[in-house]
Subunit: 303 residues, 2 copies
């Protein structure tokens, strides 16, 4: 159960020499999910050795350029590298037209099926589900329709309580059934309930992605108990008014949301280009939510 | 009269870790012209300290992604940095719709006037002219409508032949008229023709940009005597068939065009990602046209 988040871009609208626009790769047991795809994302993936041919699902939070302008280049590169597996893109409806128009302008037909999934208007819904995880979206509060994304691990099987199994000398042939939830009855006819034979599995891993958004406590219900919460913190708190006007959040606001959501850990990003140095940005965040970190290009955060 | 070319991207369709997609900045006496704008161009300009607020004219050769996907991000960045001077974009008509659709998707109105100039279909024409230079386009041979660009310095005024001026003791008050082409008549009534009083100015600087194109000698008439010719050389010559199919050129073909055009110097670029190392690429080019160089990111070529 190995989940980790790789940061490819952490900056707000205009890139700087060190910081790229938004993009992150979530690796869930070696499956890669790309979340947002600002300009230069494919170069960042090469730089940080992310095997982008293995990405099958791309999630775009909204159609401001710093969150999707790298997508078209990536689609072309996947095409030119001979991809034939389907690629799923989840985004607001407008992106489909932008992609189609650019394919037409270059007289290109992608070699692989591009499956476009329209995000619902101002609604939460499940986007993808299999036996191992569930991915959903929920509305954020921004100047154009914007979604957050939630990656939730499916609850694992209970673990065998080996001590108890040994003590009762339960035959190996019974163990699979017990793992799946069965009780056990021994030769004497005594029944042991499953709860006595197994241990609670670890809590499911949850990653929540919230960029871009004004301070909006109504999202807390979607992201409760996230193991890792990424929340934008474009500004320091002295620019609270500015943040409100632009429908972005401050450090203190991101930390407050993390606290309300009882998140395990908070990662902040989407930093305004005005902050060359981020020490004060993280210090201010930790004053409200101590287990907070900066999203930094190339850093990998274990979940 | 200081002309120089700064390379921002030299690679063909897919970027590599070292090489970005096509983009160059031509500086003509400190006026900056951007030619093509592949993904990541704005980051490259920051990296190489090109003052991109000073760019007023952007030329896009064609609508394959590796030649224009960085434009939208640059337009947004100029907007966010408070630009209000008009920006002229010269490109195929389709780009206007791509820009408009993306502005609409992000609910943005640029703060500055964006003046879009449609390139003519398969034709040459003048795009820009003032007292110092003339910029024109001409058709190339590629899979989608593609143009080359020509930057031609206006012929400078003739230089005074100081020796002759001294010898004839011509009064200073007459010199301006002579510089502008007048003859001179002295007190005795003897007339000296302008050609005897002045010297030929240096030949005009000419920069020609040809990317992407199949081998096409019919372009030679447009680029004759270019001081610097940039010509794509996507492949080495053993892949001549491949080049023909994809309507690209080889090293030998680029060098042959340079020779036919009597170019001063040749710069090759748009290298296929299959060539990690470019020594053999330039050696093969020089076997036909010795004064040839590789376009390398960050290099500045004096014209």
């Amino acid at each position: 159960m190995n989940w980790k988040l790789i940061i490819l871009g952490s900056n707000a609208a205009t890139p700087t020499t060190d910081r790229n626009p938004s993009a992150q790769v979530l690796s869930c047991d070696n499956r890669l999910f790309l979340i947002d795809c600002g300009e230069g994302t494919q170069m960042q993936m090469r730089k940080f050795k992310v095997k982008f041919q293995r990405i099958d699902h791309i999630f775009i939070s909204h159609l401001h350029g710093d969150h999707y302008l790298g997508l078209m280049g990536l689609l072309f590169t996947l095409h030119l590298s001979g991809r034939n597996r389907p690629l799923h893109v989840y985004a607001n409806a407008g992106l489909r037209h932008i992609i189609d128009l650019q394919l037409k302008a270059s007289d290109s037909t992608l070699l692989y099926p591009l499956v476009f999934h329209e995000l619902p208007v101002q609604k939460a819904c499940t986007l993808f589900e299999d036996e191992r995880l569930c991915i959903s979206c929920f509305p954020l509060l921004h100047r154009v329709p914007t979604h957050g994304f939630l990656f939730r691990q499916k609850l694992a099987e209970r673990n065998l309580n080996k001590e108890k199994i040994d003590q009762l000398q339960i035959p190996v042939t019974q163990l699979d059934a017990i793992k799946k939830g069965s009780d056990y009855t021994d030769k004497k006819g005594i029944t042991y309930l499953n709860a006595a034979l197994t241990l609670e599995p670890p809590p499911p891993k949850i990653f929540a992605y919230c960029s871009d958004t004004a301070y909006n406590p109504s999202i807390v219900r979607y992201i409760e108990k996230a193991s890792l919460l990424y929340h934008e913190a474009t500004f320091m708190h002295d620019r609270q008014t500015n943040a409100g006007e632009k429908q972005h959040s401050t450090t203190i606001q991101a930390a407050t949301i993390a606290k309300q959501a009882k998140a395990g850990k908070l990662l902040i990003g989407h930093f305004s280009a005005r902050y060359d140095e981020l020490t004060k940005v993280i210090e201010e965040t930790r004053s409200v939510f101590p287990d907070a970190d900066l999203a930094i290009e190339g850093n990998v955060y274990k979940i």
